[in-house]
Protein backbone atom coordinates (compact mmCIF):
# COMPACT_ATOMS: atom_id res chain seq x y z
CA UNK A 1 0.00 0.00 0.00
CA UNK A 2 1.52 3.30 -1.11
CA UNK A 3 0.25 6.89 -1.06
CA UNK A 4 -0.23 6.71 -4.82
CA UNK A 5 -2.05 3.37 -4.81
CA UNK A 6 -4.46 4.77 -2.21
CA UNK A 7 -4.81 8.02 -4.16
CA UNK A 8 -5.65 6.01 -7.28
CA UNK A 9 -8.53 4.52 -5.27
CA UNK A 10 -9.69 8.04 -4.42
CA UNK A 11 -8.38 7.96 -0.85
CA UNK A 12 -6.20 10.71 0.63
CA UNK A 13 -3.88 9.41 3.36
CA UNK A 14 -1.28 11.23 5.42
CA UNK A 15 2.26 9.82 5.14
CA UNK A 16 3.87 9.55 8.57
CA UNK A 17 7.23 8.20 9.73
CA UNK A 18 6.92 4.98 11.71
CA UNK A 19 10.00 5.94 13.77
CA UNK A 20 9.80 9.69 14.61
CA UNK A 21 6.10 10.21 13.72
CA UNK A 22 6.93 13.21 11.53
CA UNK A 23 4.53 13.84 8.63
CA UNK A 24 6.41 13.41 5.34
CA UNK A 25 5.21 15.64 2.51
CA UNK A 26 5.33 15.37 -0.45
CA UNK A 27 4.91 11.62 0.09
CA UNK A 28 8.11 9.62 0.05
CA UNK A 29 9.18 6.08 0.98
CA UNK A 30 11.43 7.36 3.75
CA UNK A 31 11.26 10.14 6.33
CA UNK A 32 13.24 13.27 5.41
CA UNK A 33 14.09 13.79 9.10
CA UNK A 34 15.26 10.38 10.38
CA UNK A 35 15.08 8.37 7.11
CA UNK A 36 12.73 5.92 8.82
CA UNK A 37 10.07 3.93 6.98
CA UNK A 38 6.91 5.86 6.13
CA UNK A 39 3.41 4.48 6.69
CA UNK A 40 0.02 5.92 5.82
CA UNK A 41 -2.43 7.40 8.30
CA UNK A 42 -6.04 7.00 7.17
CA UNK A 43 -8.89 9.28 8.16
CA UNK A 44 -11.38 11.90 7.12
CA UNK A 45 -8.99 14.82 7.50
CA UNK A 46 -9.94 18.48 7.60
CA UNK A 47 -7.82 21.19 6.01
CA UNK A 48 -7.68 24.98 6.18
CA UNK A 49 -7.70 27.38 3.19
CA UNK A 50 -4.46 29.38 3.24
CA UNK A 51 -4.71 31.22 -0.10
CA UNK A 52 -6.66 30.97 -3.34
CA UNK A 53 -7.15 32.37 -6.82
CA UNK A 54 -9.52 31.61 -9.66
CA UNK A 55 -9.34 30.48 -13.28
CA UNK A 56 -12.55 30.65 -15.30
CA UNK A 57 -15.25 29.37 -12.94
CA UNK A 58 -13.00 27.26 -10.73
CA UNK A 59 -11.05 28.29 -7.67
CA UNK A 60 -7.64 26.81 -6.91
CA UNK A 61 -6.54 26.92 -3.30
CA UNK A 62 -3.58 26.22 -1.05
CA UNK A 63 -5.01 23.94 1.64
CA UNK A 64 -3.14 23.00 4.81
CA UNK A 65 -3.67 19.72 6.67
CA UNK A 66 -2.38 18.81 10.16
CA UNK A 67 -0.52 22.17 10.29
CA UNK A 68 2.05 20.61 7.95
CA UNK A 69 0.84 19.34 4.59
CA UNK A 70 0.06 21.97 2.00
CA UNK A 71 -1.39 21.08 -1.38
CA UNK A 72 -3.18 22.80 -4.23
CA UNK A 73 -6.80 21.80 -4.67
CA UNK A 74 -9.77 22.76 -6.79
CA UNK A 75 -12.89 24.25 -5.18
CA UNK A 76 -16.17 25.13 -6.84
CA UNK A 77 -17.66 27.37 -4.12
CA UNK A 78 -16.12 30.75 -3.18
CA UNK A 79 -13.36 30.00 -0.65
CA UNK A 80 -12.58 32.05 2.42
CA UNK A 81 -9.18 32.34 4.07
CA UNK A 82 -9.16 30.12 7.15
CA UNK A 83 -12.20 28.12 5.96
CA UNK A 84 -12.18 24.48 7.09
CA UNK A 85 -12.65 22.04 4.20
CA UNK A 86 -12.46 18.31 3.45
CA UNK A 87 -11.18 16.49 0.40
CA UNK A 88 -14.27 15.62 -1.66
CA UNK A 89 -12.44 13.95 -4.54
CA UNK A 90 -8.83 13.03 -5.29
CA UNK A 91 -6.87 10.79 -7.60
CA UNK A 92 -4.24 10.67 -10.31
CA UNK A 93 -4.95 11.84 -13.84
CA UNK A 94 -2.44 12.25 -16.66
CA UNK A 95 0.32 11.30 -14.18
CA UNK A 96 -0.58 14.26 -11.92
CA UNK A 97 -2.27 14.15 -8.54
CA UNK A 98 -5.54 16.04 -8.28
CA UNK A 99 -7.49 17.15 -5.24
CA UNK A 100 -10.92 18.76 -4.87
CA UNK A 101 -12.11 20.25 -1.59
CA UNK A 102 -15.48 21.46 -0.36
Amino acid sequence: MSFESELLRGKFCIPECTVCKKIVWPPSEFCNHCLGQVSLKKGNFTGKIIEFSKQNEEYFCIVEFENTIRLMAKMLQIPKIGQIVKISKCGISNESYFFCVS
Binding site: E51, F60, I62, R70, L71, M72, S93, E95, Y97, F99
Partner: protein
Protein backbone atom coordinates in the same frame (compact mmCIF):
# COMPACT_ATOMS: atom_id res chain seq x y z
CA UNK B 1 41.12 32.14 -2.66
CA UNK B 2 41.89 33.13 -6.26
CA UNK B 3 40.02 36.24 -7.46
CA UNK B 4 37.62 35.55 -10.38
CA UNK B 5 36.68 38.01 -13.09
CA UNK B 6 34.37 38.25 -16.10
CA UNK B 7 36.59 38.92 -19.11
CA UNK B 8 34.28 38.50 -22.13
CA UNK B 9 30.69 37.79 -23.13
CA UNK B 10 28.55 37.01 -26.15
CA UNK B 11 24.80 37.06 -26.64
CA UNK B 12 22.27 36.66 -29.46
CA UNK B 13 18.78 38.16 -29.81
CA UNK B 14 16.05 36.25 -27.96
CA UNK B 15 13.32 35.08 -30.37
CA UNK B 16 10.36 32.72 -30.79
CA UNK B 17 12.20 30.92 -33.63
CA UNK B 18 12.69 27.17 -33.79
CA UNK B 19 16.43 26.51 -33.72
CA UNK B 20 18.56 23.54 -32.71
CA UNK B 21 19.96 23.84 -29.19
CA UNK B 22 23.49 23.11 -30.45
CA UNK B 23 23.15 25.89 -33.02
CA UNK B 24 22.10 28.59 -30.54
CA UNK B 25 24.78 27.53 -28.05
CA UNK B 26 27.39 27.91 -30.77
CA UNK B 27 26.05 31.30 -31.89
CA UNK B 28 26.49 33.05 -28.53
CA UNK B 29 29.93 31.44 -28.05
CA UNK B 30 30.90 32.61 -31.56
CA UNK B 31 29.66 36.12 -30.71
CA UNK B 32 31.95 36.06 -27.65
CA UNK B 33 35.01 35.03 -29.66
CA UNK B 34 34.18 37.41 -32.54
CA UNK B 35 34.02 40.32 -30.07
CA UNK B 36 37.26 39.29 -28.34
CA UNK B 37 39.76 38.04 -30.96
CA UNK B 38 42.62 38.39 -28.46
CA UNK B 39 41.39 35.33 -26.54
CA UNK B 40 43.41 32.20 -27.15
CA UNK B 41 40.89 29.37 -27.08
CA UNK B 42 43.62 26.93 -26.03
CA UNK B 43 43.73 28.75 -22.68
CA UNK B 44 40.14 27.70 -21.90
CA UNK B 45 40.32 24.64 -19.68
CA UNK B 46 36.62 24.15 -18.89
CA UNK B 47 33.30 24.51 -20.71
CA UNK B 48 30.00 24.49 -18.84
CA UNK B 49 26.59 24.44 -20.51
CA UNK B 50 23.52 25.77 -18.73
CA UNK B 51 20.23 24.43 -20.05
CA UNK B 52 17.03 22.54 -19.28
CA UNK B 53 17.08 21.01 -22.75
CA UNK B 54 16.96 17.21 -22.84
CA UNK B 55 19.80 16.86 -25.37
CA UNK B 56 22.80 15.04 -23.96
CA UNK B 57 26.53 15.77 -23.79
CA UNK B 58 26.12 19.41 -24.79
CA UNK B 59 29.31 20.69 -23.15
CA UNK B 60 31.59 18.27 -25.03
CA UNK B 61 29.57 19.01 -28.20
CA UNK B 62 30.07 22.77 -27.76
CA UNK B 63 33.76 22.14 -26.99
CA UNK B 64 34.17 20.29 -30.27
CA UNK B 65 32.23 22.93 -32.23
CA UNK B 66 34.51 25.74 -30.97
CA UNK B 67 37.69 23.69 -31.32
CA UNK B 68 38.57 23.31 -27.64
CA UNK B 69 39.65 20.18 -25.76
CA UNK B 70 38.97 21.25 -22.17
CA UNK B 71 39.86 19.44 -18.97
CA UNK B 72 36.31 19.88 -17.66
CA UNK B 73 33.09 19.83 -19.71
CA UNK B 74 29.57 19.22 -18.40
CA UNK B 75 26.03 20.57 -18.25
CA UNK B 76 24.29 22.20 -15.30
CA UNK B 77 20.51 22.26 -14.80
CA UNK B 78 18.57 23.99 -12.04
CA UNK B 79 15.43 25.15 -13.87
CA UNK B 80 15.34 28.95 -14.15
CA UNK B 81 18.53 29.69 -12.21
CA UNK B 82 20.69 27.23 -14.16
CA UNK B 83 22.65 30.21 -15.53
CA UNK B 84 23.90 31.65 -12.26
CA UNK B 85 24.38 28.14 -10.85
CA UNK B 86 26.76 27.56 -13.77
CA UNK B 87 28.59 30.81 -13.02
CA UNK B 88 28.95 29.79 -9.37
CA UNK B 89 30.32 26.38 -10.43
CA UNK B 90 32.81 28.04 -12.77
CA UNK B 91 33.80 30.47 -10.02
CA UNK B 92 34.48 27.53 -7.71
CA UNK B 93 36.63 25.71 -10.27
CA UNK B 94 38.74 28.83 -10.78
CA UNK B 95 38.89 29.93 -7.14
CA UNK B 96 40.08 26.46 -6.14
CA UNK B 97 42.75 26.39 -8.84
CA UNK B 98 41.20 23.52 -10.82
CA UNK B 99 40.81 25.76 -13.87
CA UNK B 100 42.15 29.11 -15.08
CA UNK B 101 39.59 30.16 -17.67
CA UNK B 102 36.05 28.84 -18.24
CA UNK B 103 33.49 29.35 -20.98
CA UNK B 104 29.90 29.18 -19.72
CA UNK B 105 27.20 29.00 -22.38
CA UNK B 106 23.51 28.99 -21.56
CA UNK B 107 20.78 28.19 -24.06
CA UNK B 108 17.14 27.26 -24.22
CA UNK B 109 14.51 26.64 -26.89
CA UNK B 110 10.99 28.05 -26.60
CA UNK B 111 9.67 24.51 -26.09
CA UNK B 112 11.85 23.92 -23.02
CA UNK B 113 10.81 21.10 -20.67
CA UNK B 114 11.99 23.35 -17.81
CA UNK B 115 8.64 25.07 -17.53
CA UNK B 116 6.88 22.29 -15.60
CA UNK B 117 8.33 20.59 -12.49
CA UNK B 118 6.63 17.21 -12.83
CA UNK B 119 7.89 15.97 -9.43
CA UNK B 120 5.99 18.60 -7.46
CA UNK B 121 2.74 16.73 -6.95
CA UNK B 122 1.84 18.98 -4.01
CA UNK B 123 0.68 21.40 -6.74
CA UNK B 124 -1.94 18.83 -7.77
CA UNK B 125 -3.12 19.52 -11.30
CA UNK B 126 -1.91 23.13 -11.09
CA UNK B 127 1.67 22.63 -12.26
CA UNK B 128 1.96 25.45 -14.78
CA UNK B 129 3.90 28.44 -13.35
CA UNK B 130 0.89 30.77 -13.74
CA UNK B 131 -0.69 28.99 -10.76
CA UNK B 132 2.12 29.62 -8.26
CA UNK B 133 2.39 33.14 -9.64
CA UNK B 134 -1.34 33.67 -9.07
CA UNK B 135 -1.02 32.50 -5.46
CA UNK B 136 1.99 34.82 -4.92
CA UNK B 137 0.08 37.71 -6.51
CA UNK B 138 -3.10 37.19 -4.52
CA UNK B 139 -1.17 36.81 -1.27
CA UNK B 140 0.99 39.89 -1.96
CA UNK B 141 -2.01 42.03 -2.91
CA UNK B 142 -3.94 40.87 0.16
CA UNK B 143 -1.10 41.42 2.64
CA UNK B 144 -0.05 44.88 1.44
CA UNK B 145 -3.32 46.17 -0.09
CA UNK B 146 -1.72 46.43 -3.55
CA UNK B 147 -3.86 46.74 -6.69
CA UNK B 148 -3.50 44.97 -10.06
CA UNK B 149 -2.75 48.40 -11.59
CA UNK B 150 0.18 48.95 -9.21
CA UNK B 151 1.64 45.56 -10.20
CA UNK B 152 1.05 46.28 -13.90
CA UNK B 153 3.65 49.07 -13.61
CA UNK B 154 6.35 46.35 -13.47
CA UNK B 155 5.43 45.20 -16.96
CA UNK B 156 5.09 48.78 -18.25
CA UNK B 157 8.54 49.72 -16.90
CA UNK B 158 10.30 46.57 -18.09
CA UNK B 159 8.84 46.67 -21.59
CA UNK B 160 9.90 50.31 -21.85
CA UNK B 161 13.45 49.42 -20.78
CA UNK B 162 13.55 46.39 -23.12
CA UNK B 163 13.07 48.75 -26.06
CA UNK B 164 16.64 49.91 -25.42
CA UNK B 165 17.91 46.31 -25.46
CA UNK B 166 18.54 45.07 -29.02
CA UNK B 167 18.53 41.43 -27.83
CA UNK B 168 15.15 41.62 -26.06
CA UNK B 169 12.19 39.52 -27.23
CA UNK B 170 9.82 42.48 -26.82
CA UNK B 171 10.36 45.74 -28.65
CA UNK B 172 6.96 47.20 -27.79
CA UNK B 173 5.84 49.57 -25.04
CA UNK B 174 2.59 49.15 -23.15
CA UNK B 175 0.42 51.25 -20.85
CA UNK B 176 -1.10 50.14 -17.57
CA UNK B 177 -4.41 49.90 -19.41
CA UNK B 178 -2.78 47.61 -22.04
CA UNK B 179 -1.53 45.31 -19.27
CA UNK B 180 -4.92 45.30 -17.54
CA UNK B 181 -6.69 44.57 -20.85
CA UNK B 182 -4.30 41.79 -21.92
CA UNK B 183 -5.62 38.22 -21.84
CA UNK B 184 -6.70 37.20 -18.36
CA UNK B 185 -5.02 33.88 -17.50
CA UNK B 186 -6.39 33.73 -13.95
CA UNK B 187 -8.15 36.26 -11.71
CA UNK B 188 -4.70 37.51 -10.65
CA UNK B 189 -2.44 37.13 -13.71
CA UNK B 190 -2.72 38.66 -17.17
CA UNK B 191 -0.66 37.78 -20.23
CA UNK B 192 1.48 40.93 -19.97
CA UNK B 193 2.31 40.10 -16.33
CA UNK B 194 4.25 37.06 -17.57
CA UNK B 195 7.77 36.57 -18.87
CA UNK B 196 7.66 34.43 -22.00
CA UNK B 197 9.68 31.26 -22.62
CA UNK B 198 11.74 31.80 -25.77
CA UNK B 199 14.75 30.71 -27.77
CA UNK B 200 17.95 32.38 -26.67
CA UNK B 201 21.58 31.96 -25.75
CA UNK B 202 24.24 33.85 -23.81
CA UNK B 203 27.91 33.05 -23.13
CA UNK B 204 30.35 34.45 -20.60
CA UNK B 205 34.05 33.87 -20.00
CA UNK B 206 35.41 33.75 -16.44
CA UNK B 207 39.12 33.81 -15.60
CA UNK B 208 41.50 33.88 -12.67
CA UNK B 209 42.93 37.31 -11.83
CA UNK B 210 46.28 36.37 -13.35
CA UNK B 211 44.71 35.20 -16.62
CA UNK B 212 42.17 38.05 -16.70
CA UNK B 213 44.88 40.70 -16.52
CA UNK B 214 46.57 39.19 -19.58
CA UNK B 215 43.35 39.57 -21.60
CA UNK B 216 41.71 42.85 -20.59
CA UNK B 217 42.01 45.83 -18.29
CA UNK B 218 38.23 46.08 -17.87
CA UNK B 219 37.42 42.85 -16.04
CA UNK B 220 34.38 42.84 -13.79
CA UNK B 221 35.00 40.91 -10.57
CA UNK B 222 32.63 38.51 -8.84
CA UNK B 223 33.00 39.61 -5.23
CA UNK B 224 29.93 38.10 -3.60
CA UNK B 225 27.95 34.88 -4.01
CA UNK B 226 24.89 33.78 -2.04
CA UNK B 227 22.75 30.74 -2.71
CA UNK B 228 19.89 29.12 -0.87
CA UNK B 229 17.47 26.29 -1.65
CA UNK B 230 14.60 26.06 0.84
CA UNK B 231 12.71 23.23 -0.91
CA UNK B 232 11.76 21.91 -4.33
CA UNK B 233 8.01 21.96 -3.79
CA UNK B 234 6.14 25.27 -4.15
CA UNK B 235 3.76 24.64 -1.26
CA UNK B 236 6.70 24.36 1.17
CA UNK B 237 7.28 28.13 0.88
CA UNK B 238 6.76 29.58 4.36
CA UNK B 239 5.47 32.83 2.84
CA UNK B 240 3.65 33.50 -0.42
CA UNK B 241 4.25 37.27 -0.21
CA UNK B 242 8.05 37.28 0.23
CA UNK B 243 11.00 35.17 -0.94
CA UNK B 244 12.81 33.40 1.90
CA UNK B 245 15.54 31.88 -0.28
CA UNK B 246 16.23 35.33 -1.78
CA UNK B 247 16.55 36.95 1.65
CA UNK B 248 19.14 34.37 2.71
CA UNK B 249 21.07 34.39 -0.59
CA UNK B 250 21.10 38.19 -0.74
CA UNK B 251 22.40 38.51 2.80
CA UNK B 252 25.16 35.95 2.15
CA UNK B 253 26.27 37.61 -1.10
CA UNK B 254 26.46 41.09 0.45
CA UNK B 255 28.34 39.72 3.47
CA UNK B 256 30.89 37.98 1.24
CA UNK B 257 31.38 41.18 -0.80
CA UNK B 258 31.51 43.29 2.39
CA UNK B 259 28.86 45.69 1.11
CA UNK B 260 25.38 46.75 2.17
CA UNK B 261 22.32 47.02 -0.07
CA UNK B 262 22.48 50.86 -0.17
CA UNK B 263 25.82 50.63 -2.00
CA UNK B 264 24.34 48.72 -4.96
CA UNK B 265 24.04 50.89 -8.08
CA UNK B 266 22.39 48.59 -10.63
CA UNK B 267 20.33 45.42 -10.30
CA UNK B 268 18.93 42.53 -12.30
CA UNK B 269 16.05 40.80 -10.48
CA UNK B 270 14.16 37.71 -11.58
CA UNK B 271 10.78 39.17 -12.66
CA UNK B 272 9.31 35.92 -13.96
CA UNK B 273 5.91 37.53 -13.27
CA UNK B 274 5.05 41.12 -12.31
CA UNK B 275 4.68 40.33 -8.62
CA UNK B 276 8.17 38.81 -8.47
CA UNK B 277 9.90 42.17 -8.96
CA UNK B 278 8.54 43.97 -5.86
CA UNK B 279 8.81 40.75 -3.84
CA UNK B 280 12.47 40.36 -4.84
CA UNK B 281 13.28 44.04 -4.18
CA UNK B 282 11.75 43.77 -0.72
CA UNK B 283 13.40 40.43 0.08
CA UNK B 284 16.79 41.80 -0.97
CA UNK B 285 16.30 44.92 1.19
CA UNK B 286 15.98 47.59 -1.53
CA UNK B 287 12.56 48.47 -0.16
CA UNK B 288 10.56 47.91 3.01
CA UNK B 289 7.95 45.11 2.92
CA UNK B 290 5.04 46.16 0.73
CA UNK B 291 6.95 49.17 -0.64
CA UNK B 292 8.31 47.57 -3.81
CA UNK B 293 5.60 48.84 -6.16
CA UNK B 294 6.06 52.46 -4.97
CA UNK B 295 9.77 52.17 -5.68
CA UNK B 296 9.07 50.75 -9.17
CA UNK B 297 6.60 53.56 -9.96
CA UNK B 298 9.14 56.19 -8.92
CA UNK B 299 11.87 54.57 -11.04
CA UNK B 300 9.54 54.58 -14.06
CA UNK B 301 8.45 58.17 -13.57
CA UNK B 302 12.04 59.40 -13.20
CA UNK B 303 13.30 57.27 -16.15
CA UNK B 304 15.72 55.57 -13.76
CA UNK B 305 16.96 52.24 -15.20
CA UNK B 306 18.50 51.00 -11.93
CA UNK B 307 16.26 47.91 -11.70
CA UNK B 308 16.25 45.51 -14.66
CA UNK B 309 17.84 47.90 -17.19
CA UNK B 310 17.75 45.32 -20.02
CA UNK B 311 13.98 44.94 -19.51
CA UNK B 312 14.02 42.04 -17.06
CA UNK B 313 12.58 38.67 -17.94
CA UNK B 314 9.22 40.24 -18.82
CA UNK B 315 10.73 42.50 -21.48
CA UNK B 316 13.72 40.45 -22.60
CA UNK B 317 12.09 37.01 -22.65
CA UNK B 318 13.04 34.05 -20.48
CA UNK B 319 15.16 31.35 -22.15
CA UNK B 320 15.66 29.58 -18.80
CA UNK B 321 19.24 28.30 -19.15
CA UNK B 322 20.43 31.58 -20.67
CA UNK B 323 18.61 34.00 -18.35
CA UNK B 324 21.07 34.12 -15.43
CA UNK B 325 23.97 34.54 -17.86
CA UNK B 326 22.17 37.32 -19.76
CA UNK B 327 21.44 39.07 -16.44
CA UNK B 328 25.14 38.84 -15.50
CA UNK B 329 26.18 40.18 -18.92
CA UNK B 330 23.87 43.17 -18.43
CA UNK B 331 25.42 44.07 -15.08
CA UNK B 332 28.90 43.58 -16.57
CA UNK B 333 28.07 45.98 -19.41
CA UNK B 334 26.65 48.48 -16.92
CA UNK B 335 29.82 48.39 -14.78
CA UNK B 336 31.95 48.78 -17.92
CA UNK B 337 29.80 51.78 -19.01
CA UNK B 338 28.92 49.92 -22.23
CA UNK B 339 25.13 49.74 -21.79
CA UNK B 340 24.42 52.59 -24.25
CA UNK B 341 20.84 53.93 -23.88
CA UNK B 342 20.29 51.68 -20.85
CA UNK B 343 23.33 52.98 -18.96
CA UNK B 344 22.89 53.74 -15.27
CA UNK B 345 25.16 56.68 -14.38
CA UNK B 346 28.31 55.96 -12.44
CA UNK B 347 27.50 52.28 -11.77
CA UNK B 348 30.28 50.71 -9.70
CA UNK B 349 28.62 47.81 -7.87
CA UNK B 350 25.90 45.58 -9.32
CA UNK B 351 23.68 42.74 -8.11
CA UNK B 352 22.19 39.79 -9.99
CA UNK B 353 19.18 37.90 -8.57
CA UNK B 354 18.20 34.67 -10.35
CA UNK B 355 15.73 32.17 -8.89
CA UNK B 356 13.84 29.00 -9.76
CA UNK B 357 10.57 27.20 -9.10
CA UNK B 358 8.56 29.84 -7.22
CA UNK B 359 11.59 31.14 -5.32
CA UNK B 360 12.32 27.77 -3.74
CA UNK B 361 15.94 28.40 -4.82
CA UNK B 362 17.78 31.70 -5.29
CA UNK B 363 21.23 32.79 -6.38
CA UNK B 364 22.57 36.31 -5.79
CA UNK B 365 25.83 37.60 -7.27
CA UNK B 366 27.63 40.86 -6.46
CA UNK B 367 29.78 42.25 -9.29
CA UNK B 368 32.30 45.10 -9.11
CA UNK B 369 34.63 46.99 -11.42
Amino acid sequence: MIKVGIVAYGIIPFTRDEQKIESILLKSAKNLFDNNPEINRDDIDAILVSTNNNSKYLAPILSEMVGIQPKIAHSIESLCNSGTNSIVSAYSYIASGLADMILISGAERNDSPGQILEWDNSRGEFKHPIFWASIFTKSYKRKFSISDEQLAMVSVKNHKQAKENPNALSQKTFTIRDVMNSKKLTDDIRMLDCSRPCTGSASILLASEKMAKKITDSSVWITGIGQKTTSAGFTKNTSFSSMESTKIAGYAALKMANHNIREIDVVEVHDAFSVCEPMALESLGFSKSGGGTSMIKELYETNNFKINPRGGLIGSGHPFGATGIAQTIEITQQLQSKAKNRQVDNAKIGLVHNMSAAATSSTVLILEK
